[in-house]
Symmetry: C2
Subunit: 199 residues, 2 copies
């Protein structure tokens, strides 16, 4: 399995690059983190976290993609975020509060992930200043992302959100069905269809 090993090493390198952008890590700090990662495969439509479960892990996506979505009592689904190869995916809210997740996390394609358990993560935070700092930077990043998304919902029309998404991530439109894009934009599929028709 030389190809598998090569991809694994590439993933590890990708994670280290990602971290180094936020906080430069010494080898010992990095090794301690890397030693906690375990690899597994996930099938398309398989959920790695169910609504109602407490989330115990943070996953790096080596390949494949995921959607993070809420399911309402009436069965309707509302996508909060999409995650692709190179991203981390978790319900960090559930991880830090220990409360049941209000969202599902589901693979949109077959995927390979590297995960770290929250117990290990919290131990690393205590042990290494640099990793706690990294955790701060990551939490700050999550805050910026969700604050920006809130602003988009408060101050922009669905059409403006769609335009902004096009600018930011036109690739997304080819990779996920339009009804999930609509859901992410906070409108019904019919509405997105009409937005697209009148451009």
């Amino acid at each position: 399995m030389a190809a598998g090993l090569a991809r694994y090493l590439a993933s590890m390198e990708a994670i280290r690059q990602y971290f180094n952008q936020l906080v430069p890590l010494e080898d010992a700090e990095w090794q301690a983190f890397a030693a906690c990662l375990t690899k597994r495969t996930v099938k398309r439509k398989e959920k790695i976290l169910l609504l109602g479960q407490v989330c115990h892990e943070v996953c790096f996506i080596e390949s494949g993609s995921f959607r993070f979505f809420h399911e309402r009592e009436d069965g309707s689904e509302w996508v909060t975020a999409f995650f692709f190869a190179g991203d981390f995916v978790t319900n960090y809210r559930s991880v830090i509060t220990n409360q049941p997740s209000s969202h599902h996390i589901e693979a949109m394609q077959d995927a390979v992930i590297l995960s770290i358990q929250k117990a290990d993560l919290f131990r690393l935070y205590l042990e290494f200043h640099a990793l706690d700092r990294l955790g701060r930077r990551i939490a700050e990043g999550l805050y910026l992302t969700v604050a920006h998304r809130l602003d988009a919902f408060l101050y922009e029309s669905p059409e403006e959100r769609y335009e902004a998404l096009l600018q930011r991530n036109s690739r997304l439109l080819n990779e996920v069905p339009q009804y999930m894009i609509a859901s992410y934009l906070g409108v019904k599929p019919e509405t997105l269809s009409r937005i697209r028709a009148r451009r």
Copy 2:
């Protein structure tokens, strides 16, 4: 000014309590933080941060109250949050990204605040693991708050948001004008008035 001194000491104690809930601090860590705080007074309707300015400080409110709001091109104002005695107020997004604020921060009453400059804060983060950790906990808290607010906008009606606010903070309704509550709930004053009328 014995009364002023007493209130100042009470504020310092309040901040230390607040921090200790998140991360227990040793005396040296606390002293280093406390030494960075400066006190000042703010008049009603005075802005401590203007839209377009980069935010350079984090403020603890000893007395008084503030609103954090966005102003649109058409002049309409949308309140994102209210802050009262015992809270910290800042545009943390602007602090960590160094980008101009997209919101104003304005005193709703005469106020007294204790502020720390971001340069000092970042220095303390580097110097003390416990303070970096505290910063992580605070960033996590901001993330939880804004994620919850986003969920409220995505999954609840204005009426449900109003009910939830009543449960959570009925005091608020007496302390700030109703049109600001409406703004915080994301509706026009007329709409909030009608929501209240039909209960």
